[in-house]
């Protein structure tokens, strides 16, 4: 890996349009076979239903890094919306399906901090009193990773260029709450984003303040949620970035919906889409 990284020095940024996929494919594929990592994708219902292109980018990036990607079919929602509203019985029903579908996975990769936190943390609480299922929940928790975390902590990706990433323009990063405060994933997405060749990273005020989505909170208390997202996108706009990047499509749907309503043409992108240059 170190040698590969040396092939791709920072200084080749201006040339990047010519080397979209800098000859890494063959070498990376060698790594694939060596690494022999298989990971099952828990795509999340929001990506499945509303943003399938994000799921495609996740698959592309993982494959480019040599991961054999599996996708247990008929996966749906992790149960977070019902868990968050206190309907734990309904949440357990949905959680049970996830436990079952991913029982044999080596790794479970989740392109969402919020859903990954549900699988990894909230399930332990949901099944705390069930001696059998708690063991299954623990097993699932031990192999579940959020997408950026999986790249940096498991695949040991040091920079975005090995993913074949390239970007023209500026971007600002929104660290989503569950990713940052439940999973403690802070540096990994930053590391990936700031090493994307050609990407100009912008800073925004109040980056760590919640965007106001909060699941059912956004429709139960729309007036408060709207106020929060209003503040948030004002900061996004003030950052001067052309693209808003995050690791959670739910937050991006919230901020993107508010930006669009205000006629802004700031784009929303999942980190995986930025890393998957092909998608742009």
């Amino acid at each position: 890996m170190a040698r590969l990284r040396n092939i791709l020095p920072q200084s080749c940024h201006p040339l990047t349009p010519l080397v979209r996929f800098p000859n890494l494919d063959t070498e990376e594929r060698l790594l694939t076979q060596q690494a022999n990592i298989t990971a099952d994708l828990y795509v999340t219902c929001i990506i499945d239903q509303l943003y399938p292109e994000v799921g495609v980018s996740v698959v592309n990036v993982l494959r480019r890094l040599g991961v054999a990607v599996g996708f247990p079919k008929d996966q749906t929602c992790c149960g977070q919306p019902v868990y968050n509203t206190g309907f734990n019985n309904e949440a357990r029903t949905l959680a049970n399906r996830v436990l079952e579908q991913f029982r044999d996975s080596e790794y479970v990769v989740v392109p969402s901090g919020s859903c990954a936190a549900t699988l990894r943390i909230f399930y332990l609480e949901l099944f705390a009193d069930d001696p059998q299922l708690i063991e299954e929940a623990k097993a699932l928790a031990a192999k579940t990773y959020e997408f950026s975390e999986f790249l940096v902590d498991i695949l040991k990706v040091e920079g975005a260029s090995v993913c074949g990433a390239i970007h023209k323009g500026s971007a600002v990063y929104h660290p989503s709450c569950h990713l940052m405060r439940e999973l403690g994933v802070k540096s990994q997405p930053q590391k990936l984003l700031s090493s994307v060749p050609g990407l100009e990273e912008k800073e925004m005020e109040g980056a760590e303040i919640c965007c106001g989505f909060g699941g059912t909170f956004s429709v139960k208390f729309p007036h408060i949620s709207e106020g929060m997202v209003g503040d948030k996108i004002a900061n996004v706009q003030a950052s001067g970035a052309e693209t808003l990047v995050s690791c959670d499509m739910s937050c991006l749907m919230n901020m993107g919906g508010a930006l669009n309503r205000q006629g802004s043409n700031i784009k929303i992108r999942h980190l995986a889409q930025i890393l998957d240059a092909e998608s742009e």
Partner: protein, 491 residues
Amino acid sequence: MPEIKTQDFSAASVAAIADPKLRRALDRVASGFEVARLARVADATPEVWDAWRQEAREIKAHTIEHLDHYLDLLHTTVTAAGGHLHFAKDAGQANEIVAHIARTRNVKVATKSKSMVSEELALNPVLESMGVEVWETDLGEYIIQLAEETPSHLVAPALHKSKEDVAELFTEKLGIPYDEDIYHMATTAREVLRDKFMEADLGISGANFVVAETGTLVIITNEGNGRLCTSAPRIHIGITGMEKVIPSMQDLSIFLRLLPQSATGQRITSYVSMTTGPRRSDDEDGPEEFHLILVDNGRSKMLADPALREALYCIRCGACLNICPVYARIGGHAYGWVYPGPIGAVVSPMLVGLKQAKELPQASSLCGACREVCPIKIDIPRMLLDLRKKTAESPDPSVRSAPVIERASARLYARLMCGPRLLRLAVRFGRVLQKVERAIPFFSFMTKDGKWIRNAPLPPLSRWTRARDLPILPKKTFHELWEKGLSRDDS
């Protein structure tokens, strides 16, 4: 107890958001506190800060787990120092104890230093109805007493008021010329209150901590008013929640650092006043009588509930309010009772009853910022979730939130998500609806380009599209893309 308005949360929060003056006040003060707090974290270094929090949490957890022991010990030490320890089961009992002391000792004037518990008890009206003059002497409390309002923040009770508001209030209530110079206004208040300190027969204080080992009441203030309340009048009554006890003086040290640094970002407050019993024979001053009233008023319910017990670790620093993006929009009064913000959304339902305060735990995006700043690492988001669970699962239909509709939607949602075939059918139906709408915009719920839903006709989506657009359903789901070729790894 003061009037409970927690049930009006929705309407009150709508009104609060529409109030630009409130927003300015909230922006000014709360964010200033947070900036100062962050500076203290940096001074300590984040690692040391975290170690302090952990230590404080362990002390609190230990004390609450052994509360019976420490309350017994406190009883011994307060009595040994010549004071009286009272235990009040509820607000009525606590107020009666104070009223009894005031009546039998012929109290005419009482001065008070800041006490959230006395707000919780609504003590002032009880004393006033007996003909006792009650003077709040903390500047913020004095302002809201004059304005006949309630505190909107745990440590900055008049946070919602601008200096212009206060100048107008002083003109109206004290009959002085309008002057919005803060120093002048503080001087005016000081002059009024100075006389009252001299006149008072009774001083009432809260307690930030009560040290079991020595029977010592500890209050921290910035104005010195606390010290005057506890030492000048002939009787001192301290009133606080039973959870404020800590084992020893040694344990106090960490809290004297964490509380002010988390609250206002001060390294230490201007005054730290410790009172142990009444004046001794060789003391130059101090009260002749010392009473400490420990209040339960619903706290034992929290103690009995393992999921909510840690709410009793709270030292009322207000850091969770200062960081909370919900509090930042709606302020303290919308929460409808004495304790606002994230910790209030946990404490209020426990003290006034979930039935009346069931909306409070729902009014959070569960972002977790409160837990991150809490000096005791109280897991507020988990407790909000627990209260949501208690609301959803309550056997009492009047506690369950929107019983029929919400429960039915949760069930329907789970049903839909458990049956992938049903889900696919629903998605197909949605796509057809989109196509029809695009061809004949009967409901006109889409944008002209057909890429976004702008005016969803029905809740909950219509509540989303008040200020936000919603992406339309794409041509294919990820499942369909996977089946249609993505599953083949031909990269």
